[in-house]
């Protein structure tokens, strides 16, 4: 199991568009990926789940991956978050 913490810096938070892109990125891998925020965990491959958290600016989130490509998926998700301007 791999785990990584992020702080969201984007003013608009994880709104609909970046949520879609994050889900698309995670869905390319076979590992189970979860996003945790404020004690709630959701499947990072489920678009409605991710958006339901309403993750905003300054939020501390944890992404956990479990599976054959757990390292790769975390790297890809981290890169996507940066590219989308969600993190610094």
């Amino acid at each position: 199991m791999e785990k990584r913490d992020f702080t969201i810096t984007a003013e608009t938070g994880i709104h609909a568009r970046p949520a879609t892109i994050l889900v698309q990125t995670a869905s390319k891998y076979s590992s189970d990926v979860t996003l945790s925020y404020e004690g709630k965990s959701v499947n990072l491959k489920s678009i409605m789940g991710v958006m339901s958290l309403g993750v905003g600016q300054n939020a501390d989130v944890t992404i956990t991956a479990n599976g054959d490509d757990e390292k790769e998926v975390l790297d890809a998700v981290a890169e996507t978050m940066k590219k989308e301007g969600l993190t610094d």
Binding site: G13, H15, V23, Q24, S27, G54, G56, Q57, A59
Partner: protein, 318 residues
């Protein structure tokens, strides 16, 4: 030759009376433009649109009364060209005697109506536009879903006909299977229908040709319908990107008409009929002003703002 309509069809569809020339109704009409020959009655023939239907109303016929017999003979003879499809006289007016003779000699029918010139002009124009517009044949299936015209496209064997059959069983109507003939009725309306030979028919792999009207009743078919939405069925692949939120706004332009389009991934176990049905209902809701994606987006942004404020406060306190 481009599309054409016979005078006979015009008489039947627009409900005109044949006043003269019953035997010449097979003349072709090749343009939807209609001429009101006012200047021709004044002897001006430099730009006479001979190919058009010539529509005479109160103005033309009363002006004719003031002309001498010789002038009228001359002008009416000039108006009766080999290309002129027919004359139409509105408001139950009498035919000018000189036109009667000239049209009879050249075998051009004269039609009449009780309607005014403006009314019959608009009726004839909309009929002719529909019949003379350029047509295009598309590969797909057209179904009317609760009043929303849906064109289902996708590769052969992806399951278009089977899905349409399921939609028919759910109470919707088949317009065309496999080949859909479309034309732009105006710049915003695309109309589709089945080629005459395929009307009401469907080909279902393993069964063959079935007649939907016979099997499921006359309520299960429709002769033609507008196309409001295109649903494209695509074989599912892990890399293909599909619209997850419903905000992509894809469109396809057919015959100059822009039609909204959704792409639906096909995967074993997905009930395509119910997905297409909800796509059609969602389209309908959107045109009525209810956009689920938009509403959700607004609510989400509100939630994010609230959470951001709370998290910032927490950080400041630390």
């Amino acid at each position: 030759m481009p599309n054409s309509v016979t005078v006979q069809e015009l008489v039947e569809k627009v409900r005109l009376k044949v006043l003269q020339g019953e035997d010449y109704l097979d003349r072709p009409i090749t343009t939807s433009d209609i001429s009101r020959p006012a200047l021709e009655f004044a002897g001006y023939f430099k730009h006479y649109p001979a190919l058009r239907i010539q529509l005479l109303g109160i103005t033309e016929t009363s002006f004719a009364k003031d002309l001498t017999h010789e002038k009228m003979v001359k002008y009416m003879t000039k108006m009766c060209t080999p290309q002129t499809p027919c004359f139409v006289i509105s408001t139950n007016l009498p035919i000018p005697a000189e036109l009667k003779v000239a049209a009879e000699e050249t075998h051009i029918p004269i039609l009449g109506t009780h309607l005014t010139s403006s009314q019959i002009l608009s009726n004839m124009t909309s009929f002719l536009l529909g019949r003379l517009a350029p047509r295009k044949s598309l590969h797909g299936v057209q179904v009317d879903i609760n009043g929303v015209g849906v064109l289902i496209t996708g590769d052969s064997g992806v399951g278009k006909s089977e899905t349409a059959l399921e939609l028919v069983r759910r109470g919707h109507r088949l317009v065309a299977d496999d080949r859909v003939e479309v034309y732009a009725r105006d710049e915003q309306t695309l109309i589709g229908s089945a080629p005459a030979i395929l009307e009401h028919l469907m080909e279902i792999r393993g069964i063959g040709i079935i007649d939907v009207a016979t099997l499921y009743g006359t309520g299960a078919v429709m002769p033609n319908d507008k196309i409001d939405l295109i649903v494209h069925l695509e074989t599912w692949t892990p890399d293909a990107k599909f619209d997850r939120l419903g905000d992509r706004g894809d469109t396809q332009t057919i015959q100059g008409v822009i039609i909204p389009k959704v792409s639906v991934p096909v995967k074993i176990g997905r009930n395509l009929a119910i997905i297409i049905e909800s796509a059609a209902m969602n389209y309908r809701a959107e045109t009525m002003g209810y956009d689920a994606t938009e509403t959700f987006d607004r609510n989400l942004n509100k939630l994010i703002k609230e959470n951001s404020a709370r998290d910032s406060k927490k950080k400041d306190q630390q």
